[in-house]
Assembly symmetry: D3
Homo-oligomer: 277 residues x 6
Amino acid sequence: MNESSAVRRKPFRRLLLTGAAGNLGRQLRGALADWADIVHVTDIVAPGDAAVHEETSVVDLADREAVMHMVEGVDAIVHLGGISIDAPFDDLLEANIRGTYNLYEAARKHGVKRIVFASSNHAIGFHPVTEVLDADSAHRPDSLYGVSKCFGESLSRYYYDRFGIETVCLRIGSSFEEPKNPRMLVTYLSYRDFIELVRCSLFTNRVGHVVVYGASDNPVKWWDNTKAGFLGFRPRDSSEQFAERFPVTAPTADRDDPAQRFQGGAFVLGEPLARER
Amino acid sequence: MNESSAVRRKPFRRLLLTGAAGNLGRQLRGALADWADIVHVTDIVAPGDAAVHEETSVVDLADREAVMHMVEGVDAIVHLGGISIDAPFDDLLEANIRGTYNLYEAARKHGVKRIVFASSNHAIGFHPVTEVLDADSAHRPDSLYGVSKCFGESLSRYYYDRFGIETVCLRIGSSFEEPKNPRMLVTYLSYRDFIELVRCSLFTNRVGHVVVYGASDNPVKWWDNTKAGFLGFRPRDSSEQFAERFPVTAPTADRDDPAQRFQGGAFVLGEPLARER
Amino acid sequence: MNESSAVRRKPFRRLLLTGAAGNLGRQLRGALADWADIVHVTDIVAPGDAAVHEETSVVDLADREAVMHMVEGVDAIVHLGGISIDAPFDDLLEANIRGTYNLYEAARKHGVKRIVFASSNHAIGFHPVTEVLDADSAHRPDSLYGVSKCFGESLSRYYYDRFGIETVCLRIGSSFEEPKNPRMLVTYLSYRDFIELVRCSLFTNRVGHVVVYGASDNPVKWWDNTKAGFLGFRPRDSSEQFAERFPVTAPTADRDDPAQRFQGGAFVLGEPLARER
Amino acid sequence: MNESSAVRRKPFRRLLLTGAAGNLGRQLRGALADWADIVHVTDIVAPGDAAVHEETSVVDLADREAVMHMVEGVDAIVHLGGISIDAPFDDLLEANIRGTYNLYEAARKHGVKRIVFASSNHAIGFHPVTEVLDADSAHRPDSLYGVSKCFGESLSRYYYDRFGIETVCLRIGSSFEEPKNPRMLVTYLSYRDFIELVRCSLFTNRVGHVVVYGASDNPVKWWDNTKAGFLGFRPRDSSEQFAERFPVTAPTADRDDPAQRFQGGAFVLGEPLARER
Amino acid sequence: MNESSAVRRKPFRRLLLTGAAGNLGRQLRGALADWADIVHVTDIVAPGDAAVHEETSVVDLADREAVMHMVEGVDAIVHLGGISIDAPFDDLLEANIRGTYNLYEAARKHGVKRIVFASSNHAIGFHPVTEVLDADSAHRPDSLYGVSKCFGESLSRYYYDRFGIETVCLRIGSSFEEPKNPRMLVTYLSYRDFIELVRCSLFTNRVGHVVVYGASDNPVKWWDNTKAGFLGFRPRDSSEQFAERFPVTAPTADRDDPAQRFQGGAFVLGEPLARER
Amino acid sequence: MNESSAVRRKPFRRLLLTGAAGNLGRQLRGALADWADIVHVTDIVAPGDAAVHEETSVVDLADREAVMHMVEGVDAIVHLGGISIDAPFDDLLEANIRGTYNLYEAARKHGVKRIVFASSNHAIGFHPVTEVLDADSAHRPDSLYGVSKCFGESLSRYYYDRFGIETVCLRIGSSFEEPKNPRMLVTYLSYRDFIELVRCSLFTNRVGHVVVYGASDNPVKWWDNTKAGFLGFRPRDSSEQFAERFPVTAPTADRDDPAQRFQGGAFVLGEPLARER
């Protein structure tokens, strides 16, 4: 068996990763090497040099033609692209609303049947911290950013019901090297667990349209993934090892502040931003 | 008591009606005369001559500054504006997404605390006709138009949670002079009931953020408004009087077609439209 | 227009009515004349003389070949046949279990797509009288008869999921000329409302597989048909007019007896019967 | 048939009415004449002259022996007694907590099997006015008075589960001659409907332990009695006729005040009261 | 202490195992030795030689008298007997419908109070693989075999409500030595976990009538046993160790086939079978 | 840094522990040393000598002034005081009803914002052992003691809704050194897990008003704490190690006795007690 045929034994022929230059994109990129013969990595800024199995491109998701071209021949998409913090509405409109529409339209035209969509806990961030949510909990965006993620969830539902394009909506918590503040002890998603979650989302044979929360097996739980049990996601990490960094305190004086009361944390305090021009 | 003081006895000082030139806008416009001293009627096309209590304007909702100006001094808004049929995404993006954002931002800046938002049954049109929905049923948009209405519902939720702006989301069925086809025997909302629904939405002292279905008391019921009972909406009309126009048939051969299977009817068959340029 | 073409304007070409010689079959038979060109009326005993638009047959539902023959060419079936009281299991097995299977198999082979199935409140009769049920309430049969009706509901669900044969399961209360005892003030279904319920079940364009309770608009309500609202069934009668026949009493000494505690009434006291041979 | 035997044909032999001197007690008292041979009417103050079928007494519910004596020989109890407004805790403790315990203990010892208990909407008054409740909604007392009613509901549940004493908990809205303020347009229970509700509660053969809301068929609905449908309560009155007394206004400036936000109205603003000594 | 009295210290005096010659019967048979003094093992074919604590018999479950005799003197029954694959309806009717009835009637007449009933995941096999079920999920049989298991669940519910015979309905997944295909990675129930599940079902002091899913602690979860937590069943095995046998693939081209879409797998493709005569 | 300032680094300045002389109070007392600079330990009987960081007092909770004094200056309260077994109502009224009111009133007046309240499984003990409960399960007290705990839960809900005082209601199972009977294999809460549960209840920054069940990770589960997942309570112990002490038996002859049928065990058999005077 020669090298070429060995390469063809990977499960996917061609995967597309958007947002490849971002924090999570960089984490995931390596793992994709084992999953696909060719990985097309793209971002609005240059995603770095291509590995031997990679193609790279610089694409603005708001550019319909460029997106259409980018999606051609792809088996499945991991869509981390767009803006991942609160931002002026006009920017969110281009990157997260027009951009996500462009991606799904391209997927429809090119016959892509599976998209892993990086939604966010900020789609439900205005639920109080004293409530445990599941996949059926109502949208409660905590910011215009969160609203743009609700849009992506609604849009992808439409493309599933109408065209059979399956989407796993990952309501990602806080995926960093380690938790940076007490809230992240709850929302922490280790890189390893993030990659495992994407793996489950790509390889489960049927996913329909499903919401799954992206958190490691942390002691405090705001989110219950029972209804997404068919994905087989089992986090292996926990924020527990980082707990000591955040000294135990009595309930703080600011516990009535919205940033303490709602799951979205400081996002709920943001105001619609003016666009910097 | 002079005329001026008599006028001041109307409940609202200034109401804003968007989409005033559309079918429902024209129906509602007369009723507003009794509810507010001044009614600002606006549309993207000229809404006709102003009555004595009216001001008129021609405003493109996508024009942020014009919208900001239009909302100044308003007590409450009935937002029927935007596109109300399926349309190319770029058009929906301007009129229904950017336009609704502009309206809510203007409401926030000018301290408006109540908006009646014309959502649509097409926000949930991909639920089957054999299911009865209520206010908590999941979004299942049946078209990009439906997706744009889901956006409006999510956005208004955010403005309620964050800024206390109350919204009644009217998931309007089919509001016409009379039902035009068998599906409308289910979704029919008489003009009189539509006006009553807006009245309840404007005058109930507190509404929070609520979804209510807009249908008359038709024999077949897809939608259950129990959870919006605090609005006090009681339809007085029924499609029953029009039933004879649609000859009774055995279940039709096309009953497995999506347009027969889903609540959205023919909308579920639409495909994303190219923009006519 | 000649007479023949006039006849063809009825909605159904050929309807099958089983159990035509029973109490409800006799009530319904007249109404079917307006709904179908030809009504095949059948029972295990002779159903009386055929009207001009009728065919009659005497068929034992347990006789597979006879049932297969009977169903040929039929558009839809109203299945009232089988045993409608508690009975020895072997009898129920033949009439209600084997018989219903035979009917559905015949429907499958002959392409019938709609069956109105006379289930019974005795499929849920072991729910207490202090509970209000809906279409999703669990099976709680109160007798072997009730078990046989649960079987019919499960079987028809299978034929819907697997072969697309739609069924309306009518959980009929007590359909008689008038209530015969205090329990029937709750469970009463007037003949007129029964016929209307069958009409809705036959003519609604899509019904999927649905459970609906058969009761008139009686003051006391054990059953909530909200989830079957898409059938458009609105009872017009009420047991209220008969209330005076059952003198008002204080709660009776026997109110702890099972026949008073459970919705199935005296059925819950039955014991499996020996077969009379 | 002599007069005495005619009297014996009333459904109950002996009914007990507590709180007979209060507003609702006075309304109900007349109706009881038709329901029982002997009506024992009692209150902490003299309930007025006894009619021919009545016995009267003055009893402090906190007096265990007096209550025990009062309950002897009774078939059923309508318990309107105790304090029905917010009050110092020590007073509520005696009248509503110790008093209700005394009553149930007496019922247990004397074999009484049915109690109609005047609970209150203030047991759930801290639910927002934008929520529709049913019998399973959680306790949210809006005052110490409301807490005392929650106690009565819990206590009566225990006496049902343990001793089989059935209780209908009436969460009475506002039962007056007519609504006195805009809130009462929602909570209004006409005297006629109140009496009908008690009638259903007494005469339904089995009630178990059930919560039912006491409101007329008012346009605005906070409470859904579907789960108590087995009581057969159908209100015949509506606050609609009184609506004109409360001029229609735009949402008021005080709509964010707790008294506007919560179902309990002004009760939610109360503070625990000092006892007047 | 002599040997005889030692034997009497086993928890049960006499257990009945039906289906003892089948795959699961053979697995379980050994474990029963520790649980009962005498184990009656029976099947429609000879179940092999009797161990010292065993009695054996060959009984057709459709033979009422033989079943009646077999059940005499039994403390509890593990009912694995009948047909456990799809089969012609007439065969299922005899073995699974008449047979299960015969067993419960015999249990009733002989005072047996606990039955562990081998139901099947095929009673709910028409639920999609993207849905997570629990004990209250609706019956969705995927085959006539599945319908026969729904019958068993309904019948046993009746015998519980009416006669107090407790049943644990085991909705067994795929209990084999090891998973044979990718679907079984989800539905796998190790023999050890199967035996533990039967143990919990027999020894829990009260079980009422309960549904529990039989699966090991596999990564992918379609079934949630929270509501059966009172049984104390905790699987110790997992299909994870077998995962490598089924090479990871991208979602397959046949993922829209019913056998991929529904939990019942290939069963949902079956058609009612002709009986081989 | 001197010793005094080191002490000040403990999370709480002053904690109050009521019921300190009781079984659980004695277990918890040691742990509190690490959590607060000063721990005020109190009981109706002398709670033993004060440690260096402790203050002690003997207070009858029914003594309003003493309670008011005791609460002064406190940051948070662990309220284990009152009667923890069934008792004459008058005693429960003083200790658990008046006493808990006194405590909450004192907390309100002194600005205490967090109370950990020892409720009990006996607040829900009349649910059957074949049902799994969660935080929203209805009150079903199994005794007057249980009723007094329901009162505490309702009262604390009021103080949260009205005054923002947060409460964690611990529905404690059986917290002893080890299980004493088979029921306790289900309800067992190890001392270590109990302390951990109190720790989570005190230190979680926001808890609102929440119910959490106090049980270790025992094999049999009646209670599901998913909805309290935000507390981060993860039991580390299990009753499994004690299982062997309770010989495995077949379902017992007394399994229909109420003490076997309901979660409250023998409590459900109690009768209201006469007060010993």
